[in-house]
Symmetry: C2
Subunit: 424 residues, 2 copies
């Protein structure tokens, strides 16, 4: 297999880079500048899918066409980690992510090019695989800035006012071990082995400085970010993401997704906020529900995803339309109504969730649901929507079991690293 | 999307079938004959991948080119289930599997074609998706024939002598809740949503008669069954499955995989035995090992998968070759040596495993490994190999945590069902 964007095999490209680059010292200093030379081009289509840029004004993995697979991981900094550890970690992560998103090994010596007497820099399971549209998106949690009153890394004063733990919502059943985290990584790719390889190697690079707190794999994207992507279905069998913000809707992105200069913390301008929610679905209960009732709960028909107020999938909802007996065609507590911008002061978010199945519970039920991911200009947008959904008919069939909120810095300039603005 | 083998949309084909077919009564009688008309063709290539036949001399999913994704599930029969329940379950499963493997909904009324006042037959998340090379392979565990001395289904006399629980192996750390089962389903597809949809709907059909005991998703096949498939890598970063039995090696299949007429139970002739092992990898420990040592443990080089005795990936192992100091180039306890036919009386198996990652353990380690699946003419083949591997250098880095052994009946004839021979 070849790295189509370069016309060189991974091996060959490593060889070319090796001379000037030097190996990545795992746990050491790294050098983000190395990655810049290979990862700053715009997205390149290849026969194996797109290669997305790592460096640029925005981090990839937000408006990027939603890939097929997810590995999301939340990390806690080590108890004895210093400010220098945090900076070097972010540098090393950017270096490695810049390489991996281009289909390269994690360092120049990679999986098989180092000393036989040393552990390889790269764990090797993605050897021979293309970039597979991999994006790696980094986020910073509230506790990174201040934890139990301590300013561990000298950045408490830089915390954006909006970056606080989410409030408790009606029906939350959060597992502390699937909630929070100082840092997060969203790795998305069209090949799950490539996404897993990214998180595994970034976790390895973090050794001694940060450790995974929780992680989750996802498959079957439940959103789309470009108009040519087919609307996928979630595990309730309904199309999901029909009304998402699309990558080419610059006005909506500016208004609802990107943090603006005047929004507060200057280092975050051009970035966004990520909300992650692990939403367990009570599958067996849903599957016993009537087809018509399923439609009423969602507010759309199951076959086409058309609103119950009429039309086709992309027809606008008519929330006021009533049947001959005066009942609203879209129920007052239907999911699409309560989540709709018109009943939430115009609030919208960019969703990027995935289906997940973690095998079977001890009761023989599928441990499955939706790993919800959304990007927004402020977490307040998610809070508003989630509060509106407190009376959602769907609530009976779901339970929020994990949660996280993260500031997502803007993209790194060539030769720099994600989060650099925080330490400028 | 269309069902490429028919040139009709799923919707359209359901409509055509609906008139003569009648709906599947979930939990009821079903009718395997219906599926026959759509699922007895040989494999058909479409732009969305192959459509594999359900009916035929052999079950699909054994020599079928290994798909990208797995959902494996083990089931226990209900405490009050009768022989009639077992027969009707196998009939209903075959009916539904015959449809789903052709890219159809689970029944003629499907996900959206039934009464609005009834729960849909099909859960809907695969609506619009192609068959995605789905295969559904059924197996029967030892406890189905006799459990705690009871012949629950009147088939104890039919149990093949070879179908007994696997012995305990050195290093086993089996979780009872990931071990055993009366029945199993191996669903493989190139789209995980399609594999998950199959297991979910077959579990739903089983309601009241059988219940999932354990299940596991897998991605990243670790074997190949045709010579044109690239050898994939496992999560140790090594190529896996180089020396597998291939689908076109009729002699090897006859000798090592298919149960022959004279092997014992006549109803199983033309079938096989499936061994499933959930093998946890101690990833972090492996990743700290030197490259040369990793190679020594496996007996191959990491880059190309070439045997350490020389040559390239497909060069035969030279187990006798020694270096200038007289040491064997392939270690006496290397994995490839201990698993090799020449040190195991010629024994071979057909492997079909997958990588798995179940998130993160409470220690912040990846909960990951290999979901090993092998097909063989007798479980004794696996037992011999696994005993040989008791001194395997790799043992330090793996732990077997789940296990199952199942008789895999031959394929169902058109209009019949898998396992029919057992009740003839």
């Amino acid at each position: 297999m070849t790295d189509g964007s370069q016309g060189l095999s991974r091996r060959g490209l490593l060889g070319l880079l090796g001379a000037g680059a030097g190996g990545l010292v795992v746990g050491g200093v790294g050098g983000a500048a190395v990655g810049a030379s290979v990862a700053s081009a715009s997205a390149t289509a290849t026969e194996d899918g797109a290669v997305h840029p790592f460096f640029g004004d925005r981090q990839s993995g937000i408006t990027t066409p939603v890939q097929d697979h997810l590995h999301f991981a939340s990390y806690d900094m080590a108890d004895d980690a210093t400010r220098e550890d945090l900076v070097s970690l972010l540098q090393d992560w950017s270096y490695a992510a810049a390489r991996m998103t281009q289909g390269l090994d994690v360092s120049a010596s990679g999986a098989v090019g180092g000393s036989p007497q040393a552990p390889p820099d790269d764990t090797g399971e993605a050897l021979g695989l293309p970039a597979s549209s991999l994006t790696v998106t980094f986020g910073l949690g509230p506790t990174l800035f201040e934890k139990d009153g301590a300013d561990r890394f000298g950045i408490a004063a830089q915390r954006p006012a909006a970056l606080v733990d989410l409030p408790r919502f009606v029906g939350d059943g959060l597992d502390p071990m699937e909630t929070g985290g100082d840092l997060c990584i969203q790795a998305c790719a069209d090949d799950p082995q490539v996404a897993v390889h990214a998180v595994r190697n970034l976790s390895r690079i973090a050794f001694g400085r940060a450790k995974i707190r929780w992680s989750q794999l996802g498959f079957g994207r439940t959103s789309k970010t470009t108009s040519d992507q087919v609307t996928p279905r979630n595990l309730f069998g309904f199309k999901d993401g029909t009304a998402n913000i699309l990558a080419d809707d610059e006005d909506a992105l500016r208004e609802h997704v990107w943090v603006a200069e005047g929004d507060g913390a200057a280092w975050l301008a051009g970035g966004s906020y990520l909300v992650a929610r692990k939403i367990a679905m009570i599958i067996e209960q849903w599957d016993r529900q009537q087809l018509a009732e399923q439609g009423r709960i969602i507010g759309r028909d199951k076959a086409e995803g058309a609103p119950l107020s009429g039309g086709e999938e992309f027809t606008a909802l008519d929330l006021d339309k009533r049947d001959e007996s005066g009942e609203p065609l879209i129920d007052e507590a239907a999911h699409v109504r309560l989540a709709h911008p018109t009943v939430n002061g115009g609030v919208r978010i960019l969703r990027r969730g995935y289906n997940y199945v973690n095998g079977t519970s001890e009761l023989g039920r599928l441990d499955a649901g939706l790993f919800f991911l959304s990007f927004q200009r402020s977490p307040e947008q998610f809070v508003r929507l989630q509060r509106s959904l407190s009376t959602d008919l769907l609530s009976e069939y779901i339970r929020h079991v994990g949660s996280g909120v993260f500031a997502v810095p803007p993209g790194a300039a060539d030769g720099s690293y994600v989060g650099a603005g925080l330490f400028a």
